[in-house]
Symmetry: C2
Subunit: 376 residues, 2 copies
């Protein structure tokens, strides 16, 4: 069994991009890497053996969902998440905090539209120094999520990389409140780390850098968390209301993170963001975008992508991409996929998801090669 | 390319059961055989390459659905159904008549409940000697389905086995009306056959035996249709309001069908019906039951089957069946499947469907062996 280790194979001369390997007990993550999101222990509409064959090294599962169903104790009883879901490759879990807070505050986009926090369906009941109390969306029971309970859940789940509990402040928060939230996040992350270090259980822990779009706070967060015994760094919180703001914040933050540890950007993985973030030195990216787009009939290509339900695909008897070696492109045509979506067949969702995840795997492989030959 | 041919390998000394091989241009159907239903050119929640690996020899597609989406002309343009859906094994299509009439009259079960024909949502507009006019459930256009147009559609689709247009009389029909319907069905089937024989296109055509639960009419239908140049016989129409009535009718009808041609029972394929119908000499059975049950979380086993969402499966870390070699049983546990259904993951529907179809393939293989060793 491999211990967690990060190795930079090559650092670009042209940018801060690097090619690396993250060693985990369940194998190697080649970076930069796209991380597929399998919230409930499966990528939607696909099974884990198919996912392994697609070749995405790391899978992201959500502790929030797993503690509500089937429960972390059950996963422990099953022998850990890898055995439970039958995946022999690396898995990362988050703390559960993101969902607790995002279900309360909504996304930056929805926040920008309503210019405030969600008032309805608020499942977040109380935030105290101890932790966050929320109501289960499944059965209405009250649950207190603390740094210690989140880490215990992730120990039970036994993922390869775990994440400390943080507070997710809404985008529109004044500086004073943001600073207060950051301080609490730091205390929570420290408590999470302490809990983890008592029993490493061969897991790695990534800190989550916060500070919203305030440079001073991002610097403070980077410096403080870098001083602790974390194995890597995830960038979380509000990363900005648009791409420009995000890139500016990330460019700044990355300067303050140690180059010998891996970095992860939470929840962002669309192609144009990847293109801009990889040269900043970010190593891994998780996003449900490729699978969500697939289920809406949108498949990724080197050009601008294809909306399968469009009339123009009806009589196209070529695959999505002639040069793609994915299961879907090897076996089925655009015309057939168009038909399956029109006929509302579930098969359509699976076949489009396979293609999009394979596309992401190949895209990242190309990115690694481009870095190695000095193009990025 | 194989011509259509039926070979009886072995006839039971104990019953009328037989083991046979139906040769088609796309391979052999080992009989008795369960036929999977892939209405729109796919088995729901699965893809055709997976279906081929499961080993069910014959797949049933519905002309009614295919003419409405994507249209038979498009399938012709794609090079036929096998190429369009990428299946290299035999395919049977029906005439489209069943859906036109069943959507109007409802099933026997719903008919028994309401004691009459459906009055609402009737998409069947008119039945004349020429054919049946119905309204497309997709876009409301009026469509006239005639023996000739159904056969032309099936020629365009280019399935291996095709079915002539018939009228599906409701279960509660007086003898005079039933006889009138049977006569028209016979005229329609003859027109269908004539149309087919002008251009065989390497397809086989099965007649559909009608006559409801009236023995005289079933005998008349069997004799008349046997006298024509059909390659096999499907048993259609109302087969009875319960299993006893069905078995009585089938036992009687089978006596009047030629033993050197294959027989198919339309729309019936649950285990207990198979057990009773195979000894009557029926060779193939189509049913959407195994896949529909799977999508409702019910998986087939040698005992009474398992409802996956039941609490008792939550901590069962064995596969559905330890002796099952299907993809699902080789890779996933009952506990995980229980979880996937509880979490409403689409993956659950696919994994349960794989198991149920594999179960049917293995069940029929066992049946064939039991016939060969004299047990059935």
């Amino acid at each position: 069994m491999n211990e967690f280790k990060f190795e930079v194979i090559y650092s670009s001369k042209k940018s801060k991009a690097r090619v690396g390997k993250i060693y985990t007990p369940h194998g190697i993550i080649n970076t930069p890497s796209f991380v597929a999101v399998g919230t409930n222990g499966t990528i939607k509409a696909l099974d884990n053996k198919m996912i392994e064959s697609i070749g995405l090294d790391l899978m992201f599962c959500n502790t929030y969902h797993l503690i509500l169903q089937p429960g972390s104790k059950l996963i422990k009883k099953a022998g850990g998440i890898h055995k439970f879901i039958n995946r022999d490759m690396p898995i990362i879990t988050d703390s559960g905090g993101f969902q607790v807070f995002s279900l309360a505050f909504g996304s930056v986009a929805s926040e920008l539209k309503s210019k405030g926090a969600k008032k309805t369906n608020c499942t977040l009941l109380k935030i105290t120094e101890e932790g966050a109390t929320f109501r289960s969306y499944r059965d209405g029971t009250k649950i207190l999520l603390t740094p210690e309970s989140s880490i215990q859940a992730q120990k039970d789940i036994a993922s390869d990389i775990i994440i400390p509990l943080d507070e997710l402040p809404p985008y529109h928060m004044d500086l004073k409140a943001l600073k207060k939230s950051l301080d609490r996040t730091h205390r929570w992350e420290k408590r999470s780390l302490d809990c983890h270090l008592k029993n490493r259980q061969n897991q790695a822990m990534y800190a989550v850098i916060h500070g919203g779009i305030n440079k001073d706070l991002r610097e403070e967060s980077s410096k403080y968390l870098s001083s602790l015994d974390f194995d890597g760094f995830a960038i979380g919180g509000s990363v900005g209301k648009n791409k420009k703001e995000m890139i500016e914040m990330l460019t700044f933050t990355m300067k303050h993170l140690p180059i010998d540890k891996p970095n992860h950007l939470l929840g962002i993985g669309d192609i144009s963001s990847l293109e801009e973030c990889i040269p900043l030195g970010i190593d891994t990216f998780d996003s449900s975008y490729p699978t969500k787009a697939a289920r809406h009939g949108f498949v990724l290509t080197n050009k601008k992508g294809i909306k399968l339900t469009k009339k123009e695909n009806e009589q196209n008897f070529n695959p999505i991409d002639k040069n793609c070696s994915c299961y879907t492109c090897k076996n089925f045509t655009l015309s057939y996929l168009h038909h399956l979506f029109k006929a509302k067949e579930l098969t359509a969702l699976s076949l489009a998801s396979i293609h999009n995840l394979h596309f992401m795997a190949r895209y990242m492989k190309d990115i690694r090669e481009k870095i190695l030959i000095g193009e990025i």
